[in-house]
């Protein structure tokens, strides 16, 4: 029951917000309150049930359509909990960071919360059709967030986003439908290890599902929609867009594709690992070439998603644990970087890396946090991303040595462009006289950035806080693969 309440509370919040009068301050406080509730509920779940998420817990299960065995089935297991928590957290951060949204604020929050319902729902779904429905519920809100509140290029960006991801999810649905009809049920629990399907059938079903999920990630070369969307969005949308949305795809791999269709996915795994490496290397190189700070962060973000693909493809405990953890740590660091890009862009009036410089002197807090975020992005030990990337590479190397080695090289590449970026933007001479007068991040901006930074450090020192929760879920995946 608590799972269902957490998922649908934001919907209630959205409706309540729409009934409020059009006054800015009360609206923002109300939105903060709405966003805080799911986060508090997930924290409660963590402390009360966190150690016992071997099998989906806190479940609710009622059969919806008996003849097809479709049901409203939700529950939380170790695989989903981390992202469930991160969704609640980043939505709250997005609300805090929404200072750049001024028009139609009420509607902005309402749409954001509807997207949150879909995202929370995906990470708690225990039924394929329900998974698809929640997956698709995020589509229109994100399309509207980008298309209404984005910059000049927003229309084109929103349409690209819609066309790519709608195509992807439709293909994925075709795979799901075929799977359910062949197996006679849509309950994930009964479908574990293939639900009785033979190898050929599994491959035929897995191919469309993988295609749909990889578009959502996006895996290079299916990333055509990404840059415009990331660059055009308002900062608070970026937080959700980069932190949560790609994980709908990667979580689908880890929760649906791999354990439910182990034999079907198996021939694709080397390619999946290779996709991971391509993401890492391509992301790093292209990020290096970006003149725009926001685009740089966007490519950095899809680059490090590659580690999730690599770890997931490894099929061993270390790699899968790394992948599941990377989903969370990636969300933390990319959200932090986007928030800081927003701070810098509003203060200096530019996002061009070349035009920035010497911000450390004038903006010690923002500059310092940017250094921390970039350090996290390059996988420096002591910060959370290090743990997850390291585990993904270890697991990946075990299964696919070549891909593992190349991925490790990718870390070096990412260090290269991130250090270059830091040297230009934070350190170095003050580029323009105008920058002498810029002010440091304000209280709201700090409130958005600091919690992310703290969590990056905390999970870097105590990764067990998350790993202990997710481990049973990963073990279930391993046994599903073994049993297939």
């Amino acid at each position: 029951m608590i799972t269902t309440i957490t998922i649908f509370f934001p919907l209630l919040g959205a409706i309540l917000l729409l009934l409020l009068p059009e006054e800015e301050r009360p609206l923002r406080y109300a939105a903060l309150a709405v966003a805080a509730v799911p986060l508090l509920l997930t924290l409660y779940i963590y402390f009360a049930y966190g150690s016992g998420l071997e099998v989906p817990s806190l479940t609710q299960d009622f059969t919806w359509i008996g003849s097809l065995d479709i049901g409203y089935r939700v529950g939380l297991d170790g695989l989903g909990f981390g992202m469930f928590f991160l969704t609640a957290l980043l939505t709250l951060i997005a609300v805090v960071a929404s200072y750049d949204v001024r028009e139609n604020l009420k509607q902005y929050f309402a749409i954001l919360f509807i997207a949150e319902v879909g995202m929370l729902g995906v990470f708690a779904s225990e039924d394929l059709i329900l998974f698809y429905i929640f997956f698709e519920i995020t589509l229109i809100p994100m399309y509207l967030l980008v298309g209404i509140w984005g910059d000049e290029n927003r229309r084109q960006a929103a349409i690209k986003f819609f066309v790519y991801t709608f195509l992807g999810s439709t293909v994925m649905l075709a795979g799901f439908l075929a799977f359910g009809i062949l197996a006679g049920t849509y309950a994930m629990e009964s479908l574990t290890s293939g639900g009785g399907l033979g190898r050929t059938a599994q491959i035929a079903v897995a191919a469309p599902i993988l295609f749909g999920l990889l578009i959502k990630v996006p895996a290079v070369p299916l990333h055509g929609w990404l840059l415009d969307v990331y660059v055009s969005s308002p900062i608070s949308t970026n937080v959700v867009l980069s932190g949560i949305l790609p994980k709908l795809g990667t979580y689908g791999l880890i929760k649906v594709a791999i354990p439910l269709l182990p034999q079907g996915v198996q021939p694709f795994l080397p390619y999946l690992a290779a996709f991971g490496v391509i993401n890492i290397v391509y992301g790093a190189f292209v990020a290096f070439l970006q003149p725009d700070l926001k685009a740089l962060v966007a490519y950095s973000s899809i680059g490090t998603l590659g580690f999730i693909l690599l770890g997931a493809a490894s099929g061993n405990a270390v790699g899968l644990n790394g992948a599941v953890l990377q989903q969370v740590t990636h969300g933390l660091y990319s959200a932090l970087l986007f928030v800081l890009v927003g701070v810098i862009a509003t203060r200096t009036g530019t996002r061009k890396v070349r035009e920035l410089g010497g911000l450390a002197a004038r903006m010690p807090w923002a500059g310092g946090l940017l250094v921390l975020g970039a350090m996290a992005a390059m996988g420096l030990p002591g910060l959370a991303v290090f743990v997850s990337e390291f585990m993904s590479i270890m697991g990946g190397y075990d299964a696919f040595p070549v891909q593992g080695v190349l991925a490790a090289l990718g870390i070096v590449l990412s260090a290269m462009y991130l250090l270059y970026m830091l040297a230009r933007v934070v350190f170095g001479p003050v580029e323009r006289p105008a920058y002498e007068a810029v002010e440091d991040a304000g209280p709201m901006e700090m409130a958005a950035a600091v919690p992310l930074a703290v969590l990056l450090v905390l999970f870097g020192i105590f990764p067990a806080l998350l790993v202990s929760v997710q481990r049973p879920g990963v073990e279930a995946v391993i046994s599903a693969i073994g049993g297939g």
Partner: protein, 477 residues
């Protein structure tokens, strides 16, 4: 033998007749008080709805008039759809017909179509079916041509009339041939003729019958009257006619095929598959090129007829029950989203550009239209998704390669339809307002209808379980 029970069975029809006469008479004496007449007509639609719902709740069923008239869950369900659609059409008509002074006549026409449609879904006799179809269709010609101030209305009405009369003659000829072979027009007797190998005359009758029905449900290549008729018609007429009589026609076609000619299934499922594919593509490809929203929705209704025909193609083997469910679910899902979409036109305008920036000037209306458009594409959790999902489920269970092709075409067409439905969403949400923000006065009932329909479209998933339970006990399939 007419007993008291017969009157109970005919309750929705009798209520409709009563209100029809009442509206006409009150209209004569209170010509100026449109609110009164419209209220009475809306009450009539609700009364029909209520009486059908009551019979459904009481589990009433039976055959009357020598088996020619049947009351079962299936028929009652479609009576609900027709009466519900009529209710919203009346609310929408109240505002529009205010200018002409002919409101009572227009509302009477709506109730006549209701009467024809609810009779139609209970008919089990080919001639009765023909009469009921005509009873529903003839007033609808007048409804389309009712907007005397616009030339398109007369043009649309004329085209509709001419093609409709041709379609009726074709249908009647088909019925006569089948009657000639069988010696009876009752569906139970017809099924005797359509067992074993078909005689050429019976086959010709079947083909003519199906062609007539294809006209009535605007299936390609018999669809060409649709865009002109719906573009010319008053909005409430287009909204109502594209949903209620069409759903009733689909329902009775389902009854004819399943009860009257189950043995000829291989023949008519193949015809349906062909019609479905053609209709989907024709409707969507034409809709893509439209700038006028009304015309776009007219072509969209052609495409949606194609989707429902896909369910007819899946009426075979173990998928039959599922396919019947699909027709039931799709009819209701389409009714709520399509009436809603048409009604928004009356509040905003029929040019695509008039939707620009609606989100900023009238956010609730924009959100409702957004729901209708997303639902017409088939995005979950809205009603259109469930309709399409059921068709795909039933198609996948049919085990026939031809049906797989039809289902594939349905998926392709759903993606194909994204640009024109989402063009409206883009205009509403992403563009700057071009019209002044001042909202035209009035239209309270219309806005109420739009919001209720948007809510029904969004919460349709709650209705799935009762509908599919009802289909299980429908007696068909």
């Amino acid at each position: 033998m007419v007993t008291g029970l017969t009157f109970v069975a005919l309750l929705p029809e009798l209520v409709a007749v009563g209100f029809l006469i009442l509206v006409l008479m009150v209209g004569v004496f209170f010509e100026r008080s449109i609110g009164l007449v419209a209220g009475l007509a809306a009450l009539g639609a609700l009364a029909v709805f209520g009486s059908a719902a009551g019979l459904l709740a009481a589990g009433f069923s039976g055959e009357f008039f020598g088996g020619g008239f049947v009351v079962d869950n299936f028929a009652l369900y479609f009576k609900l759809i027709v009466a519900g659609s009529a209710f919203f059409a009346v609310l929408a008509a109240a505002r529009w017909s205010g200018g002409t002074g002919d409101a009572p006549e227009y509302l009477t026409l709506i109730l006549s179509v209701v009467l024809g449609s609810i009779l139609l879904v209970s008919m089990r006799d080919l001639f009765g079916i023909f009469l009921a179809i005509e009873l529903a269709t003839i007033p609808s010609y007048a409804m389309v041509a009712f907007d005397r101030k616009r030339r398109e209305s007369a043009e649309g009405g004329m085209k509709y009339l001419i093609t409709g009369v041709v379609a009726s003659s074709v249908l009647l000829y088909g019925i006569v041939l089948i009657y000639g072979v069988t010696g009876s027009a009752l569906l139970s007797d017809v099924s005797q003729t359509f067992s074993g190998s078909l005689t050429p005359v019976a086959l010709l009758g079947l083909v003519l019958l199906l062609s007539g029905f294809a006209f009535k449900v605007s299936a390609a290549p018999f669809h060409f009257w649709t865009p002109d008729a719906y573009q010319g018609a008053p909005t409430s007429a287009a909204a109502f006619l594209s949903v209620a009589p069409k759903a009733a026609t689909f329902a009775v076609l389902l009854r004819i095929l399943l009860e009257g000619m189950p043995e000829a299934r291989p023949t008519w499922t193949a015809v349906m598959a062909f019609l479905a594919i053609l209709t989907m593509f024709v409707g969507n490809l034409a809709a893509l090129r439209q700038r006028n929203v009304r015309r776009m929705l007219a072509y969209s209704s052609v495409a949606h007829s194609g989707y429902i025909l896909a369910a007819f193609a899946a009426l075979q083997g173990q998928a039959t029950g599922q396919a019947v469910e699909a027709v039931l679910i799709y009819s209701a899902a389409y009714a709520v989203m399509n009436i809603g979409a048409f009604l928004v036109i009356d509040l905003v305008g029929e040019d695509g550009k008039s939707f620009n920036g609606l989100f900023r000037t009238r956010p609730a209306l924009a959100a409702s239209m957004g729901v209708f458009m997303a639902s017409l594409v088939g995005i979950p959790p809205f009603s259109g998704f469930w309709g399409k999902a059921w068709i795909i489920f039933s198609g996948a269970q049919s085990g026939s390669v031809l049906v797989y092709v039809v289902v594939g075409a349905l998926v392709v067409n759903s993606v194909l339809s994204v640009p024109y439905y989402f063009g409206i969403i883009r205009n509403m949400f992403f563009e700057k307002p071009t019209l002044d923000a001042a909202e035209p006065p009035g239209g309270g009932a219309l806005k109420f209808s739009v919001y209720v329909l948007a809510l029904l479209t969004a919460l349709f998933f709650l209705l799935i379980v009762p509908i599919s339970a009802l289909a299980g006990g429908s007696g068909l399939g």
